[in-house]
Symmetry: D2
Subunit: 419 residues, 4 copies
Amino acid sequence: MTESKPLRVGMVGYSFMGAAHSHAWRTAPRFFDLPLTPHLAAVAGRNEEAVWAAATKYGWDSVETDWRRLIERDDIDLIDICTPGNTHAEIAIAALEAGKHVLCEKPLANSVAEAEKMTAVAEAAAARGVLSMCGFSYRRTPALALAKRMVDDGRLGQIRHVRAQYLQDWLSDADAPLTWRMDKSKSGSGSLGDIGAHSIDAAQWITGLNISGVSALMETFVNERPVGGDFVGLGGRGGTDGPKGPVTVDDAALFTARFEAPDDAGAAGGLGGAGSGSAGSPVSSGTTPSGPIGIFEATRFALGRKNAMRLELNGTKGSIAFDFEDMNSLQFYESSLEPDAGFRKIMVTEPSHPYTGNWWPTGHGLGYEHGFTHQVVDLVTAIGAGEQPSPSFADALQVQKVLAAVEASAENSSRWQTV
Amino acid sequence: MTESKPLRVGMVGYSFMGAAHSHAWRTAPRFFDLPLTPHLAAVAGRNEEAVWAAATKYGWDSVETDWRRLIERDDIDLIDICTPGNTHAEIAIAALEAGKHVLCEKPLANSVAEAEKMTAVAEAAAARGVLSMCGFSYRRTPALALAKRMVDDGRLGQIRHVRAQYLQDWLSDADAPLTWRMDKSKSGSGSLGDIGAHSIDAAQWITGLNISGVSALMETFVNERPVGGDFVGLGGRGGTDGPKGPVTVDDAALFTARFEAPDDAGAAGGLGGAGSGSAGSPVSSGTTPSGPIGIFEATRFALGRKNAMRLELNGTKGSIAFDFEDMNSLQFYESSLEPDAGFRKIMVTEPSHPYTGNWWPTGHGLGYEHGFTHQVVDLVTAIGAGEQPSPSFADALQVQKVLAAVEASAENSSRWQTV
Amino acid sequence: MTESKPLRVGMVGYSFMGAAHSHAWRTAPRFFDLPLTPHLAAVAGRNEEAVWAAATKYGWDSVETDWRRLIERDDIDLIDICTPGNTHAEIAIAALEAGKHVLCEKPLANSVAEAEKMTAVAEAAAARGVLSMCGFSYRRTPALALAKRMVDDGRLGQIRHVRAQYLQDWLSDADAPLTWRMDKSKSGSGSLGDIGAHSIDAAQWITGLNISGVSALMETFVNERPVGGDFVGLGGRGGTDGPKGPVTVDDAALFTARFEAPDDAGAAGGLGGAGSGSAGSPVSSGTTPSGPIGIFEATRFALGRKNAMRLELNGTKGSIAFDFEDMNSLQFYESSLEPDAGFRKIMVTEPSHPYTGNWWPTGHGLGYEHGFTHQVVDLVTAIGAGEQPSPSFADALQVQKVLAAVEASAENSSRWQTV
Amino acid sequence: MTESKPLRVGMVGYSFMGAAHSHAWRTAPRFFDLPLTPHLAAVAGRNEEAVWAAATKYGWDSVETDWRRLIERDDIDLIDICTPGNTHAEIAIAALEAGKHVLCEKPLANSVAEAEKMTAVAEAAAARGVLSMCGFSYRRTPALALAKRMVDDGRLGQIRHVRAQYLQDWLSDADAPLTWRMDKSKSGSGSLGDIGAHSIDAAQWITGLNISGVSALMETFVNERPVGGDFVGLGGRGGTDGPKGPVTVDDAALFTARFEAPDDAGAAGGLGGAGSGSAGSPVSSGTTPSGPIGIFEATRFALGRKNAMRLELNGTKGSIAFDFEDMNSLQFYESSLEPDAGFRKIMVTEPSHPYTGNWWPTGHGLGYEHGFTHQVVDLVTAIGAGEQPSPSFADALQVQKVLAAVEASAENSSRWQTV
């Protein structure tokens, strides 16, 4: 009846992400064997009444009204950053320098410069045994983790096509109220960083290949929105007669991309001979071994699409397709089976599948929040082993560079932009 | 920062259902406002070492090795029964008579006689303010709760067809090991009571109509199975060379059914004029107002179907269709829209949908376990209000009568059997 | 530039089925190499003006106003019967006795007695080289033909479950007009013979096993309907104020079934040991090797389902599932692939698939009418080779016996009825 | 029993498209009332033996071995051009100048210059009553025609997003043989013109808006392929040891796009206020009323996707989504219905739907070839009425300009290219 050694967590921020993280810290040890047992030690927020309400609701033992105080406390081992992107760098750097492990929500920062500084600090901290991770939680969706395993096992052969969409519709109503997610100074960007970043991270992680260049188009459909409306979920409903404020981020971001070539792209069994030329050009030069080509779209205006985070990869031997709106399954195609093999809809709930064996019997699906629980499992396991968790700040910096390249290309007549 | 008054829970049993219930007691107050706050006070099981391990894992404060002791304790308000069906009656009756509220897993009992006795005791207890509920958790799947709301709102008109399948495949392998679920003395029946009972309860609850008669066929495909194999999830893998024991339950149960007529079946806008005759006959007599006809199948041998709890209703104005393998959506058809209206796939994750507003933003789906959390929410809310929770033991008794009628018909050449 | 020897066709009837058959006779030789070239020689119908209009529209060379005259003509080689079921026996017998090959629409007849007589005549005619076939055209849907191939190749192992639904909704509106399809004297039965017969034939053909017993429930939801309304497609719209006539057939038919055991059911690799007892009992006796169990539903009141002819088979090694509403694909599950293998959605448009290689490139789907064209291909090929086409009248007689057993059981309190 | 006046057709080319067109000419008058009755008068091809075989197979009355001779004949009213793109201009211009109506397969030509010349000739011919049409047959898929009707009826509101994919996989195998479709001198381009052209035409036609600018990336994955292999369907299988020849076209084409603004884009109910700036820039300027943004992908390397011609539009009031692999249905979302309305899967087989009332009862789907039959119906109807058929050569020229802009952008570092 003994628990493992505690891991005392201090969380900054307590809205949507805070609720999800709280549940994950509380639930992970109930279903997984962990080397350290998370304690929900303290939550920080500026409004004392609200932060106490959150602490009570979500089960935190204490509160702070200044995140700096949280970092000063001796009884905190890890800082969990759930605030908007403009605050990430300062908090994460302070925490790491104070010797606290860090879990930081995505995107890592609001600029490449910030992300580079954070990564440098994180790498220095790691040398002292202080670890950090960025919260690209979709990596922990069992179906996407299975996709990664299949690619690693070579079942798709070499990847030729990456096709990613992240479609939502909660801003489609022009009267949905203005929130910090539409304020560039807080969020860094709009759909691009909020949801497109997930697609970019998933695509790079699953293929094992970085994006090397992009060409982009961005659009803001609704330039101003009501202020002061009720906030419901991500969106909500503002008044139509009241004052309006400016939307300073993109509503939609579209881009084409090239990925770096895999190490063995020129070998037999590769893409077949052609090539994409240098990373700086979208035109195939014909001789250099090439990596996949990609097409990405992120929008919050695709009416009827609620959380369609979709990813499809086509390789020389097989394909996978995923849609978060049907998150418990993965579509898989193997050309070797027979003509036409057909896409298989794998229900990713088997004991042999990533994470799922710790939950329910086969066919009893999981939900959105489980990705956060699995994220805690992987983070705590890495901390227990003294190993670098994944994705590292360096991985997240690479995503940040792609975001920056997308914005640069869109501002420069869609011209090809090297990452 | 004050919590509501505690509701001290004692749980009997701690395997699959115990894990699900523990999570629900722990999680419900973190997402819903409850009039009482569940405390995981004690868990009971015969093996002291195992029950302590479960208590630690799932977060219970204490243990008992005899469920009777749990009932004797003054610091327990509610008994949660998660054991096989042959033990339900004794535990539930003792608990209710000791003044404890009861949540009892389904099916309520292993016979109608037991269920009738339990219901009588429950009704007497209710008069004293001691409440009880049977754990047909699928009622708390948001999509099925939305289906219920749509039927209640008249959007389907009068129901003509009920089409229910509960398809699993974990016993398809003839070498899957023998467990208590294949032992009639413990489980009462096989697929019929284990999963078919969910279909029966859901169909009666959503239509608001009881099944009045059935004709059935049952089958056992694999008559003996290895004993002593490892248990994984519901099934697992036994040895192929070791000793075998007898399977004493059905592997599959199929039946047709008639439902009682709704009160307004003879009125304008009803089924159109025809009729089904008396409940004792499957043949339509042509004059009596009729209720829906139903077709049910429950099996654990439908290879490839993992947890396909499916329900379709066709009414005079519309239809709904549900499949638990895609549990976050409900298919809905309204003939009034336009030809062909088409089935709409409603993503049941809106703030206005049952239960979902307390969780994540739209499109961020829930999982299997949430049904148990919602069950706790509804139970605690009812207890707080001093009202009868639903489904009552009486509701569960009605399901038990259908189960018995199915077995009686199958044993009597499928002859029509009044419920 | 020579065509093959002609096969001169005389068709009786020219409404829905007549249009489909005309297209098939005209189209088959344009896509398939046939040993005989169909000529659309003559069409027969009672109304001279209408039959001339049909002949012009559908491309027939001449007309007759009495089908007997068609049979008398020397320049007709084959009689194609597209009239209601009450006329099949007389026409088919006269044609076969006159030495004409016969293609007869399904169901073969309106009674077992008629079907037996037709079968006897057909077998006698076959001995003289005069061939006959019943038009269960769904056998020629490429996806179902592929299903048959897979079962024959042993890829499903032994079949345990047959699950068949045929769901339409064109009678759901109580004001849809009365037509011959609702008149038992013409159609023999309602949804049972019209659409349920397709399910029965497909299930027996694909499994290679006959149904040996059934238990049934039938229902008529709307007992009378407007007469004289406009006929559109299968249904249409009658007046609501005019006179009404009686519906004398079933609107829906539901039944459970047992199939005969395969020859090798007792061998290793069989169903696993259990057994279903004699065909006369729905209860498993536990020792006799058993065949599959089946569940069937046919209705024209499933609002929103337009032509959902669905069939699912679960075997010891795999499963297949089909829905005519997505007719160009077949779902296939093989348990050997990996856990969870997942159902594959095979697009049945490959050159290696049945029939499809003669049409378009892969992925370019076929439609409803192609089943009739393939039926012509198979019939003409058999006639050219002097071999018995399939399904024979004997095959269709077996379906007729199941239809009769279903009706007998429904009239006898659902009691088990041996076929 | 009289047919309408004949329309005598002479077809050039007789492979894949020739087979499809022959079937359409033959079938259209059997299901639709036409003002002129097509006669399959003559087919032209260089190889006399092969062209006679095709004439016999497909039912043409005579042959020519030089298309010029076909145009000289007095007994030909319409020339149907089914040859590769490099021959379109010469044949079409000669035919129009000889006073023959013309149906020309897509893409209209292999260059904008050719297409402009053809369009000028076509417009001059139209003034003399000689009509022409380009064969973008997907416009005649009932589901896409219904989509067009819905957009025209305002049910989507103003369109914000166009999302088009055309995914095939028949070139994924690096040993698939070289054919004229991979030879730029014959085909003009690869996946871009072959399949991407369909997406472009459909998107412009349904939205009623032209594409005004693009940014593109193109790729050739397999630079050389076996020559002389067997040709099966679109692809086939070459030898792996024999000689190889160069692939001179794109294997995949990806681009982002902007559409022109609708006339009422600035009015109330428009996109909401934002704007896209001038057509020459992918960056939103913030004040000018804007049209939709688009994202397009065409590839023949998406393993497992057989003919996934997909189109999704998101507007201010609703969305539609289509996939040719499920061609008989259209997904439709109306935000006004209720939260969440859900996408409706409309089975496009109702009498009220475009084209379908002339075929089979509801739910009995159509196939690929029906688009060609409907194309004949619309063309013959327009000729009968003396009206311009749609799409005109001018419409096809607009597609050609987009194809050229895509290629120009891909060759210029993806830089934004005005159409």
